[in-house]
């Protein structure tokens, strides 16, 4: 038995896991139309590489990775691209985003699949495969896996597979571990091959005995250790799980790899296995449909399936359903744009909410500084102070009190006797600060461009003056030449004069540039050579 290192705080909301974990994972039928968002991961959205009217095959890449932090997206089935336009997507803003719509042809025909022998292949080739297979962290952060699975000179001590699934209601990881433990462990082996960790730990909360048993069986002979942890939200948070299993803390603003730890979700390991052994891209995932539906269950559904169809598969929402929550009740968000938003890689659960299951929050009272939030905070923050600064828009103070270490787990909201929407305040403040930082950067760029323009204008003025002088000189030279020898070819004379003028121009330019370099008595360090690079034309 490993010693667990308790993290600070945490809460224990009602679990509600059994509703959806009784039935096995069911395969969702092929929908008629699939809508695949190009932004399904952190980083740059994928670039569409198909046109409207193109026929695509199942698993064919339809959006290519753009830049370093980005991955590809793929056609979930075979069919015709009918639109590339803004479409409702599951996002807390309710704003639409660029999506590729595919009309299924019903054949579900695969594109050519290319498995890879990862043990003999170059690790970079494996990572390229992961990028092109669109593999991202399926725990919610959707960070490109190929970026993460790169030791990059760091010594990896511990590889952690996150099977904690601490959010109430959600059982998708639980069911995946119960039914496909072998594939998951195979995926972990591939990750371990890439990262070469000293130990591999699989963390599971102890309310999933079947999953624990299945994983233990699958881990026989691999040397991987299944570690059970007591149920305490948010033990499945990456930072909390790392603390729980290793006793180490991820330094603020850094990634776990900086302390030699890598944490990955069970779903991710499964998709890694599918990609490497079968050459399949991420075109489906397991999703829990639960709450106020008649038949809560987990489904394996294609990315792009309208969420409404999945709710129908679970027997449909009961009439008193008021709204739908995407994700768990602690960190999920309300689905604002109805149920025609498609399933994406990040969505692991849809909860149909009713006033009975999720009573509306009472009106908030002022903060009485009771510090129950501080006692519950798994990051050891002081939410009451952060709230005080956030509600008075004192952004500098909020940042100084480490607002950006908040993981928005919702523990503070859950225990607050004044029912203050603390996390909402923190999100507001965070996004305001981020916007301010963006503005600052834009202002700095504008300043540099302005200074460059000033410099250029001065140079141009000088050039103009030089050109005038040169013109006069040319004229004079031509005249002089003509006067000197009437027999000489006038063309040669003009040529010579032009060359002469060009030399003079170059000289003048040089002198001008030298004069223009210190544009003001206090030269700005940013205004120098570097500006030239930002000039667009």
């Amino acid at each position: 038995m490993r010693t667990l290192h308790k993290f600070h705080g945490g809460v224990h909301p009602p679990e509600h896991k059994t509703e959806s974990s009784r039935l096995p994972i069911a395969a969702a039928p092929l929908p008629q139309r699939l809508v695949v968002p190009l932004r399904q991961h952190i980083g740059n959205p994928a670039i569409p590489i198909v046109k409207v009217g193109d026929h695509v095959l199942k698993g064919q890449m339809i959006g290519a990775a753009d830049g370093f932090i980005s991955v590809a997206v793929h056609a979930p089935t075979s069919g015709t691209v009918s639109a590339i336009e803004l479409h409702a997507v599951p996002h807390p803003s309710g704003l639409p985003d660029l999506c590729i719509t595919i009309e299924a042809d019903g054949e579900d025909r695969w594109t050519e699949r290319q498995p890879l022998d990862y043990q003999t292949a170059d690790p970079d080739a494996v990572r390229a495969l992961l990028r092109d297979a669109g593999i991202v962290g399926l725990g919610g952060a959707v960070f490109p896996a190929y970026v993460k699975l790169n030791p990059d000179q760091q010594k990896i001590k511990t590889l952690i597979l996150n099977g904690a699934e601490c959010e109430p209601w959600i059982t998708s990881d639980d069911l995946l571990m119960r039914e496909r433990a072998t594939e998951i462990v195979s995926g972990v082996k591939i990750m371990a091959h890439l990262m070469q960790p000293e130990e591999v730990l699989i963390g599971i909360e102890d309310n999933k005995p079947e999953a624990i048993a299945a994983m233990q069986a699958a881990c026989q002979g691999t040397g991987f250790a299944v570690v059970t942890a007591p149920v305490l939200y948010p033990s499945g948070g990456e930072k909390q799980l790392i603390k729980l299993l290793t006793g180490k803390e991820v330094p603020s603003g850094q990634r776990p790899i900086n302390i030699g730890v890598l944490c990955s979700n069970t779903g991710t390991a499964y998709t890694v296995h599918r990609a490497v052994y079968h050459g399949e891209a991420v075109i489906s995932r397991i999703i829990t449909i639960t709450g106020n539906v008649t038949k809560p269950q987990n489904f394996e559904a294609l990315i792009g399936t309208p969420l409404g169809e999945l709710v129908q598969l679970a027997g449909g929402a009961r009439p008193d359903t008021s709204h739908f929550i995407l994700g768990g009740p602690m960190m999920g968000f309300d689905l604002l744009n109805h149920l025609d938003a498609p399933l994406t890689k990040a969505i692991n659960c849809v909860i149909a909410a009713s006033p009975a299951l999720f009573p509306p929050k009472p009106a908030a009272m002022p903060c009485i500084r009771c510090t129950q939030c501080a006692q519950a905070c798994p990051c050891d923050l002081q939410p009451q102070e952060l709230f005080w600064f956030s509600q008075s828009k004192n952004f500098d103070k909020a940042r100084a009190y480490n607002l950006f270490d908040c993981i928005e787990c919702g523990c503070c909201d859950y225990v607050c006797p004044s029912h203050i929407p603390l996390v909402s305040y923190f999100r507001y403040t965070k996004s305001e600060i981020a916007a301010q930082d963006r503005e600052k950067m834009a202002a700095e760029q504008a300043r540099q461009r302005f200074e460059f323009k000033q410099m250029r204008e001065e140079r141009e003025k000088a050039e103009k003056a030089a050109r005038m002088a040169e013109k006069a000189a040319t004229a004079a030279a031509a005249k002089a030449a003509a006067a000197a020898s009437g027999v000489e070819d006038p063309i040669t004379a003009a040529k010579q004069a032009a060359i002469q003028a060009a030399v003079e121009r170059a000289k003048a330019k040089k002198a001008e540039a030298a004069a223009a370099l210190p544009p003001s008595p206090q030269p700005s360090p940013a205004g120098g050579e570097g500006v030239n690079n930002t000039e667009p034309s």
Binding site: F7, H8, V11, P13, P14, P92, P168, K239, K248, E249, V250, P251, S252, G253, Q254, I325, G327, P329, M330, M331, G332, F333, D334, A353, F358, K361, P362, A363, M365, P366, C367, I368, R369, C370, T371, Q372, A374, P378, C379, D380, L381, Q382, Q384, E385, Y401, N402, D405, E408, G410, D413, Y414, V415, C416, P417, S418, H419, P421, V423, S424, R427
Partner: protein
Amino acid sequence: MSSPHVLTPGSSVSNIMLTVLAALIPAIGAYYYFFGPAILISLVLASVTALAAEAAMLQLRNYPVKYFLTDGSAVLTAWLLALSIPPLAPWWLIVVGTAFAIVVAKHLYGGLGNNLFNPAMVGFAVLMISFPATMTHWPTPLMLSQHPVGFSETLQYTFSGALQGVKLDAVTMATPLDTLKTQLNLQHAMGEIKNMPIFGSFGGKGTEVIAAMYLLGGLFLLQRRIITWHTPVSFLVTLALVAALFNGIDPGRYAPPMFHLLTGGAMLGAFFIATDYVTAPTTPRGKMIFGASVGFLEYVIRVFGGYPDGIAFSILIMNAAVPLIDAYTQPRVYGHDTKPE
């Protein structure tokens, strides 16, 4: 509506306030048993005044009156004040103190959750400075009294300011702390003083039982996780240590620690006033600094200072230091200052 979508069932501000009020009831019972019905009258008077002042201020500030009036915070302020001042007092004393507490110390700062100073203690300090004589008329414990004051007599005194046929001096006397101070100033020895009838086995007769009841209520609050141990423990330990130190130096001039713990407002202060959420520090280390400082100042003021008891002033002084304490005792946040391996 954004996440989270669930809340702790049954947790609310009014629940917290009601639990604290409930924890005060054993002490009020003991108070009634030893000192007669005056305390009940002053509790009711203070509560009514507090609610009226609160309602008026909420109305003036355009806040939803009913929603805030039922949170219980005004009543708690009223009870704490009533338990701190002499119960056998003219009505205007209680009304002025409570109204000042609610209007100035609470609502001028923005009401619940915004005040810097503990309203009840501000009310107490104002009364102490403005009406020092009235504030020393404490009722005699019933078993020592020649003339136990009954319910109707108390009412009569409270509203008319006089008692028929009895002089006020006959039914009131100085508190044990005050008596101790006076007697010590008269160069009497500690052992001699402790034999006076007003003193019980540890503290004052009757008051020591009330103090024990405060302790009981405080333990109940600890068990219900309304308060944390930091403040009361650091408060009482510091008070006891300082008292033991001086008692060890000169037992003839300085009372033993048990006496200091069980007299005056020590227990009430430790569990109910110094733990007031709004005006106390929020960090664990801050709470310990706060509690220890209040305990130390409490001893200094009650033994060397000009007032019979120091609880109100020591709490107010430390209230002023709370923002500073909070700012300098922020706990280490996850992922900060991690030890290098």
